[in-house]
């Protein structure tokens, strides 16, 4: 039992934290976060050079990491630094490219030359892949896609988009295929918490087929993405609580610092308790990744983080008062990120329902 970071992880975490602290202040961040292309190539190259992208993939597949632990270490720092670069989409896409043996493409993504995104969710599908409706049809040796994908993270400006689509004419239980398209047109917009998102209308688009049965791989990648989001939330809430405490210590009202009001103190304590709980459940999800308990534990984590992240964000704004409501104050952007994480890859309710589907009351993984 050991909860310390390994030496390598400590190094990676430190260098990433230092890089963001020194090169990525809130103004820099906000300049790219809310305007197309939602992405600063120089930041991206620097992150790639730090090894951030390569750490998403195992050595055998061209990377130098690839465990859930690697991913969590990185995303916690991205969260602490409120990095809005399209790292989530890259994680999801790269995992699939690499797992399906697209070594060359994967290598270019790892180097930061090429950006990839994963188009899986649809306007009516949050979490349950069996409800996907986009289809792929093979005509001669050409695959054509139809349907609409939404919430494609990092799609604006991506070089490659992987699309998950149901194989046509294969009936109810048709397998899910994975298809590659190059720099498709998309309906792009900034996210309210920063970063780019897009819908893609497939509409007969021609695509390269990478797999004709990818459901399990996609679910694994999504679970890893959920872990990444949880870790990002833990980083963001840690920073947000820190600056809330700082603010309460500085700000005076009625001749006393806000920090001296017991009612406010107790609320901060409750935030800290939940932050520790969020860190713990993320650790649990990391540990369960790749075990039979993966899906259920990841859903526990995503549920708890969804609830507590937005609660902590609301409390932080409230404890700041007016200043917490302003664009200029960095805390407001952290708060938005924490709330909106619950809208990515399934929310608290979606994941509670997934937990229930996966048998309620099963004993926790470790007890065995």
């Amino acid at each position: 039992m050991d909860f310390n970071l390994s030496e390598d992880h400590q190094l990676l975490s430190d260098s990433l934290r230092r890089f963001l602290a020194e090169n990525y202040d809130i103004e820099t961040r906000n300049r790219t976060a809310y305007a197309a292309p939602f992405h600063a190539p120089e930041t991206w190259s620097a992150l790639a050079e730090l090894g951030v992208i390569g750490a998403f993939v195992p050595e055998g597949q061209g990377g130098y990491g690839g465990t859930a632990d690697d991913v969590a270490v990185i995303f916690e720092e991205l969260g602490r630094g409120l990095c809005s670069e399209p790292m989530l989409g890259t994680l999801l896409g790269l995992r699939l490219l690499a797992a399906l043996g697209q070594t060359d493409l994967a290598a270019r993504v790892i180097d930061g030359e090429t950006r990839v995104a994963l188009a899986v969710s649809e306007p009516q599908v949050a979490c349950d892949l069996s409800c996907l409706q986009a289809t792929a049809r093979c005509e001669g040796d050409v695959w054509r896609l139809s349907g609409r994908k939404s919430a494609v993270y990092g799609a604006p400006g991506a070089d490659l988009v992987l699309v998950v689509a149901r194989l046509a004419d294969a009936g109810e239980n048709a397998a899910l295929g994975l298809f590659l398209i190059h720099a498709p047109e998309s309906i792009a917009a900034p996210m309210i918490d920063g970063g780019g998102i897009a819908d893609i209308v497939l509409d007969g688009l021609q695509a390269e087929c990478l797999s004709t049965d990818c459901a399990e791989l996609v679910e694994d990648a999504l679970d890893l993405g959920r872990i990444a989001l949880c870790a990002e939330a833990v980083g963001a809430m840690s920073h947000l609580i820190e600056i809330t405490i700082d603010y309460l210590r500085q700000r005076k009202q009625f001749g006393r610092t806000l920090a001296s009001f017991q009612a406010l103190q107790h609320r901060v304590v409750d935030m800290v308790v939940e932050r520790e709980q969020c860190r713990s459940i993320t650790i649990a999800a990391v540990a369960a990744y790749g075990t039979p308990a993966q899906a259920r534990t990841v859903s526990m984590a995503k549920n708890l983080i969804g609830r507590m992240g937005s609660w902590i964000a609301e409390e932080a704004i409230q404890l700041h008062g007016g200043i917490g409501m302003t664009w200029e104050y960095p805390g407001s952007h952290y708060a938005k990120r924490l709330v909106m994480i619950d809208h990515q890859l399934g929310d608290r309710n979606d994941h509670v329902l997934r937990m229930i589907r996966l048998k309620p009351g099963a004993p926790p993984a470790e007890a065995a």
Binding site: P123, C131, I197, W327
Partner: protein, 394 residues
Amino acid sequence: MDLEFTDEERAFREDVRKFLQRELPRDIAGKVAAGKDLERDDILRWQAILHARGWLAATWPKEHGGPGWSAVERHIFSEECALHSAPRLPPFGLNMLGPVLIRFGNDQQKREILPRILDGSDWWCQGYSEPGAGSDLASLRTRAVRDGDHYVVNGQKTWTTLGQYANKIFCLVRTSTQGKPQEGISFLLVDLDAPGVEMRPIRLIDGGHEVNEVFFTDVRVPVANLVGEENQGWTIAKYLLTHERTNIAGIGYATKELERFHRLAREITRDGRRLSDSPLHAARAAEIEAELEALRITNLRMLANARDGAAGGVESSLLKLKGTQVRQMLQNLYRSALGSQAAPIADELSENELTVPVDAARAAPVYFNHRKLSIFGGSNEIQRNIVAKELFKE
């Protein structure tokens, strides 16, 4: 016990409904329903329509151009306005400065200023808060020093809502540093065009521009612009705070928001199930509905108390507390209902590129913006302090 409105009150509600259905411009109601920002002109247009009907200054007595409504009528009017997605009227001239002048202003002030509020010639904004004085208003530091027939004003105000649309501001300024901090404050009217006044936008969390900072540098203000006596400003400010605030609970808005959620839930499908069939969402909505229904009655109870002449300082705190909680729960529920489609900033998409109903597309920014409800206008912590003081008084 009787919850029924009188026949006259019902008839009045019917009048208001018909008026709103006929007169409220569709384009404006559409923006309100979708949570979009209104232009200056949208609001002026609506004010002019209300003014033509004599219904603009709900809280003013008839002699000054108000409709002469009872508290119950004012309640019915504002509830119906919310239910019909009428714009929320900026309260600064109509519900704040107007009543202050009527109570504390001299004849000339009443004669000159009140009509210009009604006809839209003046747009007033509020200069109360300062960077170091929000909840703790008594510590304000903007100075007004007498110099012949003028005050010379220096200092800074903040959180000035819709100041960008205004040409006038009423301020609390420090005219004396003697005695208790409350005792040296005056209520002063300032022309925003006066030399030395500068207004800068504050962008809020949702990216919108609705509040401002106002800077005063050696601004000369005629002594005639003083309302009431010098150093009487605290009394005036308190009068405004305890002045009946009909719509503080926001019942009409909340009712509309719940209805909006149910409509959306019937339209949205998520993971193979209509959202309205999702027991978790339905249960949450039902529980909030119960709280809202209770709040509706709480509001009526306090309205009846006010009508019967009972004092209501603590009561308006209770309404503010629960009212903001209910509305924030509803904003939260609505945002959650959209799932991943709450993320994009919909302003940047044309309406036919949306896969959610246009009304819902601004759910997230509206949610973030409405975190202000529990902060502005006396934070919920301040409201709790007020109630606690009453509960635990010796």
